[in-house]
C-alpha cells in the first residue's frame, strides 16, 4: 500500500471521503516523513506539529459527521515562510525577522484554513524570495530530494522540496520571476503562477509588488487546479486584486489539446538552454502535435530584454518595499546613537548579501538622475513585452517553452556569480512582467535522474485553457515517479 505521505491531494481526499484514511493519519504520515528527511533536506523552517494535529482532529470530526467542507478538508499543506500565519513564526528566511510572530493571517492562509487545510509548517526560501536556489536563506540551504548534492531551485525551494519528499501533500509558493515554476521544474512537480491580481497578496511579505503572485506546488495538474481555485478570488484587502470572478482551473482538465493552437517561443527555446532540456521540450511538443494540437513557431524579440528589465523593476520595487524593515516596528534592532544610525546598522546586520545587493541596485535605479534611463525605460520595455504577448495570443491559445534552462545544479555552483544565478529565470520572467499565468509540468528525467520541466503560458485570465493543456501534457508524458530517499527506504 502507498505510504499516505506519497498520495496526491485527490487520492487523499478520496480516501478520506471513503473512510479509508483519517486526516490525523495523513498528518502523522507527513510529520513522520519530515522527521526522517528534514536533517538531509531542510525544507522547513518551522514545523507546527501540535497546530497541524489539532487542525487534523477538527477535520476528522467534520468528516465523520458527513460535514466535509470541500476538496482540501483535512489535507496537510506546507506554506512558504513569506506568508503571514497568525501565532506561528514568519521570517521570510531573514535574520531581520527572526522570532517574528504575525498578529494576523494572510488572505491565502485564511482561505485555506476556512477550506479545512492542515498547515504542516513554514518552508524555507531565499531571503525575501530573492534567489533561484534557496541558498540565500539566513537559516541554511534546502537540498533537492532527487539528489541531495543539488539545489531545489528557488525561491520557493522549501515548499518544492517538502512536496517532493512527501513531508506535505502540496505547498504554496510565491512567484516574482519564476520562484514557483523553476523549483517545480527542478523538483519534478507541477508549479503554477496565476494571472497577476487573481490571488490576494494581503499578508504576503512583499518583494516586488507588481510582479508577486502566490500559487500552488503539487504532484499533479488536477491538484494544482484545486489549490488554485481555493485561493483565487477578489480580496478587498489587496488594492491590486482583480474584481471579477477567477477562471476555473478544473473545468476542462480532461478535454485534451485537439484543435488548440500551441505557440513555441523561439527566443526561449534555443540559446542558453541545456541539450537534454531542449530534447525533452521537443519530444513534448511532438506529443502535443500527435494529440491534435496545431504547433506554431513564434518570435517574441523583446523577451530577450526581459531579464534586463526585470533586474531593474524588481530591485526598484524591493528597495521601496524593504524600507519597512528598519528596527522600529518588528524584528531585529541594532542600537545606535540616533534613529538613523540605529536603522542603518539594523539593516546592515539583518539583511543578507543578495538582499543588500538588490536594495542598492533598486535604490540606484530609482535615484535622481538615473530614474528615467533605468527604471522608466524598464517600465516602457515592459509595455513592449505585454504588447508582443498580446499579438502572439491572437494567433495561439497557449505559448510553451522549457521552464528552467537546465536541471538542478550543485550547491555553491552559482553563488559567486549573481548574473549566472539570474539566468535561471530567463524563460519564466516574461510572464511576470506581462502579468500572465504560467505553469510548469514535469516531462522527464535527465540522464543523471534529475527532473525536467515544461512551461505552459496563457493570456491574462487564461487559466482554464492553461490547465487543460498542462493536463494533456501530464497524460502524454511518462510518469517520472518520486525521488528515492535512502533515509526513507531504509
Amino acid at each position: 500500500m502507498t505510504n499516505p505521505a506519497d498520495l496526491t491531494l485527490v487520492e487523499a481526499a478520496t480516501a478520506l471521503k471513503a473512510g479509508d484514511q483519517t486526516s490525523v493519519a495523513l498528518t502523522e504520515a507527513v510529520l513522520t516523513r519530515a522527521s526522517l528527511t528534514e536533517a538531509a533536506v531542510h525544507a522547513y523552517l518551522t514545523i507546527d506539529r501540535s497546530g497541524a494535529l489539532a487542525a487534523a482532529e477538527a477535520a476528522d470530526r467534520r468528516i465523520s459527521k458527513g460535514r466535509s467542507i470541500g476538496p482540501l478538508d483535512g489535507l496537510p499543506i506546507a506554506l512558504k515562510d513569506n506568508m503571514m500565519t497568525r501565532g506561528v513564526e514568519t521570517t521570510a528566511s531573514s535574520k531581520i525577522l527572526a522570532g517574528y510572530i504575525p498578529p494576523y493571517d494572510g488572505t491565502v492562509v485564511a482561505r485555506l484554513r476556512e477550506a479545512g487545510a492542515v498547515f504542516v509548517g513554514k518552508t524555507n526560501l531565499d531571503e525575501f524570495a530573492m534567489g533561484s536556489s534557496t541558498e540565500n536563506s539566513a537559516f541554511g540551504p534546502t537540498r533537492n530530494p532527487w539528489n541531495l548534492d543539488t539545489v531545489p531551485g528557488g525561491s520557493s525551494g522549501g515548499s518544492a522540496a517538502a512536496v517532493a519528499a512527501g513531508s506535505a501533500l502540496a505547498g504554496l509558493g510565491s512567484d516574482t520571476g519564476g520562484s514557483i515554476r523553476q523549483p517545480a521544474a527542478l523538483c519534478g512537480l507541477v508549479g503554477m503562477k496565476p494571472t497577476y491580481g487573481l490571488v490576494s497578496r494581503y499578508g504576503l511579505i512583499a518583494f516586488a509588488s507588481s510582479l508577486d503572485q502566490i500559487g500552488p506546488l503539487t504532484h499533479t495538474v488536477e491538484d494544482a487546479a484545486i489549490v488554485y481555485e481555493a485561493i483565487a478570488g477578489h480580496d478587498p484587502l489587496d488594492a491590486t486584486s482583480f474584481p471579477g470572478p477567477a477562471p476555473s482551473g478544473t473545468e476542462r482538465l480532461g478535454e485534451g489539446v485537439s484543435g488548440l493552437r500551441v505557440g513555441i517561443v523561439n527566443e526561449l527555446s534555443g540559446e542558453g538552454i541545456d541539450d537534454e532540456v531542449l530534447a525533452a521540450f521537443r519530444t513534448t511538443v511532438q506529443r502535443l502535435a500527435s494529440a491534435g494540437a496545431e504547433i506554431v513557431e513564434l518570435s517574441l524579440p523583446s523577451t530577450a530584454t526581459a531579464l534586463s528589465a526585470y533586474y531593474l523593476i524588481a530591485p526598484a520595487e524591493c528597495s521601496a518595499n524593504l524600507a519597512r524593515f528598519d528596527g522600529v516596528r518588528y524584528g531585529l534592532r541594532v542600537d545606535g546613537g540616533t534613529v538613523d544610525e540605529m536603522m542603518s546598522r539594523t539593516r546592515a546586520d539583518g539583511f543578507g548579501p543578495e538582499v543588500i545587493r538588490r536594495i542598492l541596485l533598486g535604490t540606484y535605479a530609482l535615484s535622481a538622475g538615473y530614474y528615467d534611463a533605468f527604471y522608466g525605460q524598464a517600465q516602457r520595455v515592459r509595455t513592449l513585452i505585454i504588447q508582443e504577448f498580446a499579438r502572439a495570443y491572437e494567433q495561439v491559445d497557449v505559448l510553451v517553452s522549457p521552464t528552467a534552462p537546465a536541471p538542478a545544479f550543485e550547491l555553491g555552483a552559482k553563488t559567486q556569480d549573481p548574473l549566472s544565478m539570474y539566468m535561471q529565470d530567463i524563460c519564466t520572467i516574461p510572464s511576470n512582467l506581462s502579468g500572465h499565468p504560467a505553469m510548469s509540468v514535469p516531462v522527464g528525467l535527465s540522464a543523471t535522474g534529475l527532473p525536467i520541466g515544461f512551461q505552459v503560458m496563457a493570456p491574462a485570465l487564461g487559466e482554464t485553457v492553461m490547465f487543460q493543456v498542462a493536463a494533456a501534457i501530464e497524460n502524454l508524458s511518462d510518469d517520472i515517479g518520486r525521488p528515492v530517499l535512502e533515509v526513507v527506504a531504509s
Partner: protein, 96 residues
C-alpha cells in the same frame, strides 16, 4: 562606457551601514549587473507608455467604513522597544 556608481551615496539613501571593503565589492557587482540591465536602453521606446500594473486596472476604492483593526498590544509586542502604547526609537537628531 562603464557605469559610474557613487556607492556610498546609494548605501546612505538605502540606510545600510557598510564598510569600505563591502562598498567596493557591491560597486563592482552592481557594475556588472547594470551593464546587463542597461540593454533595456537598446530598445526604441519613443511614444511607449510605461507599465506599472500589468492588468488594465484603475484605482480600487472601497466604502469608508470603520472596522476593527489589529490589537494594539499584540502589534506592539513584536516591536524591539515600545512604551505607553508607542514604538520607541533613539533620538532623530544628534545631541551635539
Amino acid at each position: 562606457m562603464p557605469i559610474e556608481i557613487d556607492i556610498a551615496h546609494v548605501a546612505r539613501l538605502a540606510r545600510i551601514e557598510l564598510s569600505e571593503r563591502q562598498l567596493a565589492d557591491y560597486r563592482a557587482q552592481l557594475g556588472v549587473i547594470l551593464d546587463h540591465a542597461a540593454r533595456v536602453q537598446e530598445l526604441p521606446t519613443e511614444g511607449v507608455a510605461p507599465t506599472s500594473h500589468p492588468l488594465d486596472m484603475v484605482n480600487a476604492f472601497r466604502e469608508d467604513i470603520v472596522r476593527p483593526s489589529l490589537d494594539r498590544d499584540e502589534v506592539l509586542s513584536q516591536a524591539p522597544d515600545a512604551t505607553d502604547g508607542f514604538f520607541r526609537v533613539p533620538p532623530s537628531l544628534d545631541n551635539e
